[in-house]
């Protein structure tokens, strides 16, 4: 069974009387454990697609099944539960709560799971440690570098043991060196922990880390092909 299955997804906005087809019949399947990069110019519908599979937005028409669950019929709160239990988000702008420690940011998804305070703290510490942020638990986002902030965001994304990570331009605000570090982190999560990762990017270097690349144009999928990333061929792996 596919983790993500969409069938004829349409998202139509009404822009001043003229309907805009942000998504124009998108059908795709993504299996558990895949590492997919979605590419396309701005306005191609890739972000709209991400928002819908992230249960942040709903399609105008079409079906979307996440882990076999038909999401179109779910209420706001049921969608919130799905986001909490099944999806971890990594955003371009990190989207950490300001004036809140790294630890508390990572605790946030567990907070809405009514998890006990002590357990929350313990798991958040573990997640931060796993991402090499030991000792930074009590730093606020503005005391951390961009790469560190994004690692806090990744810790927050995976702390609830979700099967799916959605990363929307995760390296868009980072320099090349840090971008590669973050991508290697995602690669490890996919390779070692079998997490499904869907990544939106417009950079070929970043998409090159994935094993499947889907191209969007004008709300449709124009190409969908397997890709063999450098990290599967260790001898060609860049030094960084």
């Amino acid at each position: 069974m596919s983790l993500i299955e969409t069938e004829d997804l349409y998202k139509i906005y009404d822009a001043g009387g003229a309907p805009v087809h942000a998504l124009d019949g998108v059908s795709v399947r993504i299996d558990s454990g895949e590492f997919v990069a979605i590419m396309g110019p701005s306005g191609s519908g890739k972000s709209t697609f991400m928002n819908i599979i992230g249960c942040l937005d709903q399609p105008t028409r079409g079906r979307y099944l996440l882990g076999g669950i038909e999401t179109a019929r779910l209420t706001r709160d049921e969608l919130a539960t799905i986001r909490n239990e099944k999806i971890g988000f990594v955003f371009q702008g990190f989207n950490l709560l300001p004036r809140t420690s790294a630890l508390e940011n990572v605790e946030l998804p567990m907070f809405y799971r009514s998890m006990h305070h002590g357990e929350r703290r313990k798991k958040a510490r573990e997640a931060l440690k796993r991402l090499g942020l030991e000792g930074r638990e009590h730093h606020h986002p503005n005391q951390l570098s961009g790469g560190q902030q994004q690692r806090v965001a990744i810790a927050r994304a995976l702390v609830n043991d979700v099967p799916l990570i959605l990363a929307d331009e995760p390296t868009g605000n980072l320099d090349t060196k840090t971008s590669i570090e973050i991508m290697e982190l995602l690669v490890r999560l996919n390779r070692d922990d079998q997490m499904t990762i869907v990544l939106v990017t417009h950079e070929h270097d970043i998409a090159a880390f994935s094993r499947r690349i889907i191209h969007f144009l004008d709300g449709r999928i124009v190409s969908d092909e397997a890709h063999y990333p450098d990290w599967e061929k260790p001898e060609e792996r860049p030094d960084q």
Partner: protein, 409 residues
């Protein structure tokens, strides 16, 4: 399912981050609650004072005054017609069983001399009944008796102020004082009564037998005349019935035909007092209502700030929703924040209100009573304000679309 302590922590942090703004928002509630408490304290204090005065005058009292005279078409003031006598008073006590006691009063101002001291004071001629009617108590000596009244003995019972002015600290009982040059033996000293509602010193007084007053001190146009009669009724509930009975008894005694008006008037003291108390209660309500308006304004301030806060934190709301916050979680987060603001303001307001009431009573000399009910009321009201004015902004926040909230700049 919602984690109250942690949500409270979030609220406290949000309040702390904008210290100045939170303080100003709270100030509205502080002033509102504080003024409600202080105003109710002033009003309750005034009612309390009136109630004390009612009991100091003596409850269940009726006052009978002579009627007004008409001379040449000109109506004279109440009491200008000398129609009441001591016999009327005796008849009321004799004929109406529900009357506990009566006190005919013939009073005037007279110069009183003891040794080389002299003092001008109110001299009240009455019967032994006055001690019951006016709830008088003695600190030394005795009251005058029916025997003293019948024989028109020259005996006097003094109030505290008179004693202080004539005798200083020595014991006046057994001494001879002169009232209008006539010697009187002091037989008793009254306990302190304090000021009357009109601010009169109720201890600046001398009681003597009414007969002595009539014959020797003031003189009367006809025998037995008194200025007024005070009547004490056994049970407060009977006061209106007794009033009617006195009316018919006196009409009969004064031979007033059914076409004529009374030549006397019966006044119900308790009624007058109750009216005063009523008006002070109305004043309390009015003060409270005015103060509540400021509480309302404070509430609107909370709503205003919460709306700003929701807009400012749209992105935060988006992040929370993205990681799984439900409608209810967001609603509660902002409700608890508004409630925290209003309750903190409420508690500070209560403290300042109680303090303000104390200051008022010290500085202005007003009697203030902070009742626990008013504190509970103010606290409950500020909680209500928080819930009421916090709901709309919180509701608005909870209905945000997660994707729009996340994209909000």
């Amino acid at each position: 399912m919602i984690n109250i302590p942690d949500t409270l922590k979030i609220s406290l942090r949000a309040i702390r981050i904008n210290k100045m703004r939170s303080a100003l928002t709270m100030l509205g509630i502080i002033i509102g609650v504080g003024s409600v408490i202080a105003m109710l304290a002033v009003g309750t204090g005034a009612s309390e004072k009136i109630r004390q005065q009612i009991s100091s005058i003596g409850s269940n009292l009726l006052l009978i005054l002579p009627g007004s005279t008409t001379s040449g078409g000109l109506r004279m003031g109440m009491g200008s017609q000398p129609t009441l006598t001591k016999d009327d008073a005796d008849a009321i006590l004799r004929e109406i069983p529900r009357v506990q006691d009566v006190a005919p009063i013939l009073s005037g101002v007279a110069q009183v001399v003891f040794g080389n001291q002299n003092w001008s004071t109110g001299v009240y001629g009455s019967t032994e009944g006055v001690f019951v009617v006016r709830d008088l108590s003695l600190v030394s000596g005795r009251m005058f008796t029916e025997q003293d009244v019948r024989s028109a003995n020259k005996v006097a019972v003094l109030g505290q102020t008179v004693v202080t002015n004539l005798f200083g600290s020595s014991n006046p009982v057994g001494q001879i004082i002169r009232i209008k040059k006539l010697p009187f033996t002091v037989i008793g000293v009254l306990g302190e009564k304090g000021q009357s509602m009109q601010g009169q010193d109720q201890d600046d007084i001398i009681y003597i037998p009414v007969t002595t007053a009539q014959k020797k001190i003031f003189g009367t146009p006809f025998p037995g005349m008194v200025r007024n009669i005070m009547v004490k009724v056994r049970h407060a509930g009977d006061i209106n019935d007794v009033e009617n009975e006195i009316n018919s008894l006196l009409r009969q005694r004064h031979r007033i035909s059914s076409r004529e008006d009374n030549d006397f008037q019966v006044r119900n003291l308790a009624d007058m007092m109750q009216m005063a108390e009523q008006s002070s209660r109305v004043m309390t309500l009015l003060l409270g209502a005015i103060a509540s308006v400021s509480l309302l304004v404070g509430g609107i301030g909370i709503m205003n700030i919460m709306l700003v806060s929701v807009t400012e934190r749209t992105r935060e709301i988006g992040i929370r929703m993205a990681v799984g916050a439900k409608t209810w979680d967001i609603l509660m987060q902002f409700m608890i924040e508004a409630l925290t603001l209003s309750l903190m303001g409420g508690v500070i307001g209560i403290i300042l209100g109680i303090g303000g009431a104390k200051i008022l009573s010290v500085m202005a000399g007003w009697e203030t009573v902070v009742s626990p009910v008013s504190v509970l009321l103010a606290f409950g009201f500020s909680a209500l304000v928080g819930v009421f004015f916090g709901f709309y902004p919180a509701y608005k926040a909870s209905l945000l679309n997660p994707i729009d909230a996340l994209r909000y700049e």
